[in-house]
Symmetry: C2
Subunit: 256 residues, 2 copies
């Protein structure tokens, strides 16, 4: 039996919702989860608002094996993620002594003042475990099944790299991508029949619109190569059937 492990992501930050910053972390986490066999089931983006963050975290951690958050763990007044996560778990937010010592030593080495703002980065909910930050020292943290990480992509990616070995991976979803020169309007009916005949696969079709013509990428997903190959063969045959029908009909349009 395939092991199903699910995850959700929470992106925190006014700057994403205003359009000022374009998110780069969702696509990265999606790629990483797929690579290790964890199903990313939902993503939410919320503002720098305690109630919004806590509400989303509580909804997501109840419904999924893992939750990953990005953003709002820096040193400034709008970085309220640690407090909001503490509120979500109903525990106090306080300095983590090892993280405090790490940051204190880091700034001492650089002869930089360990300001109140910098000390803020050692705060995390009671019971949380730090997540190492090899890029810029200030840690993320894990509490329960929630992994709280930085929004700066370089730091987020490094933290996810540290977290991955601790996760229980599922059976990887394998996929087969088939380029189809026809639009979804041509393939929709026969493709639905193939999907129905192969319920152990998930067949998706992704339209592309280039040069005023639609084409499609058909993706067959499943947790064993055999089931994918069987459905894939039928998809190839379907494309060939459409080609023949169009040649007969002298209708070479690739419109949807």
């Amino acid at each position: 039996m395939a092991a199903i492990v699910t995850a959700a992501m929470l992106v925190i930050g006014d700057e994403i919702l205003s359009g000022r910053t374009k998110d780069k972390n969702i696509g990265h986490l999606a790629d990483v989860m797929t690579a290790v066999g964890i199903d990313l089931k939902e993503v939410r983006i919320v503002a720098d608002d305690t109630a919004a963050i806590a509400g989303a975290v509580n909804a997501l951690r109840a419904g999924h094996d893992y939750v990953f958050t990005t953003g709002g763990i820096g040193p400034t007044h709008d970085d309220i993620t640690a407090d909001a996560i503490a509120a979500a778990f109903g525990v106090p937010c306080r300095y983590d002594p090892p993280s405090y010592a790490l940051l204190e030593a880091h700034y001492a080495r650089r002869a930089m003042e360990f300001t109140e703002a910098r000390r803020r980065m050692a705060r995390m909910p009671e019971g949380a475990v730090p997540i190492d930050n090899p890029v810029s020292v200030a840690p993320g943290f894990r509490i329960g099944n929630v992994h709280v990480m930085a929004g700066v992509p370089q730091v987020f990616q490094a933290m996810i790299g540290n977290v991955l070995p601790t996760l229980r991976a599922g059976t990887k979803v394998l996929s087969l991508a088939i380029a189809c020169p026809y639009g979804e309007g041509d393939i929709g009916t026969p493709l639905a029949a193939i999907q129905k005949a192969h319920p152990e696969t998930s067949i998706g079709s992704y339209p592309r619109y280039v040069g005023q013509k639609f084409s499609t990428e058909i993706v067959v997903r499943g947790r064993s190569q055999d089931v994918i190959d069987a459905a894939g063969k039928e998809v190839e045959a379907m494309i060939e059937d459409i080609r023949k029908a169009k040649a007969i009909g002298e209708n070479h349009s690739a419109e949807a």
Copy 2:
């Protein structure tokens, strides 16, 4: 008094959650909403799953003035958005006669078969109003405060262009961006004091990490130029104060 109008977005599609497709619509909607003075408050990404779509739509439409969805309105079996939205509103999903006629004529003109798959694109919940699609004809639709649009970016952008004139805009949020050569650890404490003294503004700081050094973009937002300018002057003075203090301390690090 500033008029506050809020919006939420729902991105629908397995391909975004698997990482196969990188979303381009969130950033576009965020930019457009900011430009017209509507506050985008939340985004969710869910799978091609009726319960997930209907649950998210019902949560979002209850909490915001407008909801915008992208994805899942094409002709194939995995395009289940219209049915899921109908389920969310508790109404039947049926062919919209004007949209059916439009598509039928479109394919007749091109001598293309009006397949069952293509006819699917004329389906929408009872009570929905079509949203024109100038790119590829198949319409989106509006039901209540929910606007259902295509996931292909060119089509989504065209549909949003058609929807915008129908929306009630709020008082625009104006913003002032100030480049700051120092990291958040340097500015955190004084910036929090400026935010506290200017509660009618929202001051954000966005760290950048380039060449192993942090710098910051400080953004002052507000709904009148006067309040932004007053806070902005204090931010500029703060940066100058840090510069002087660092010159004295001979500490030129820009680390966080």
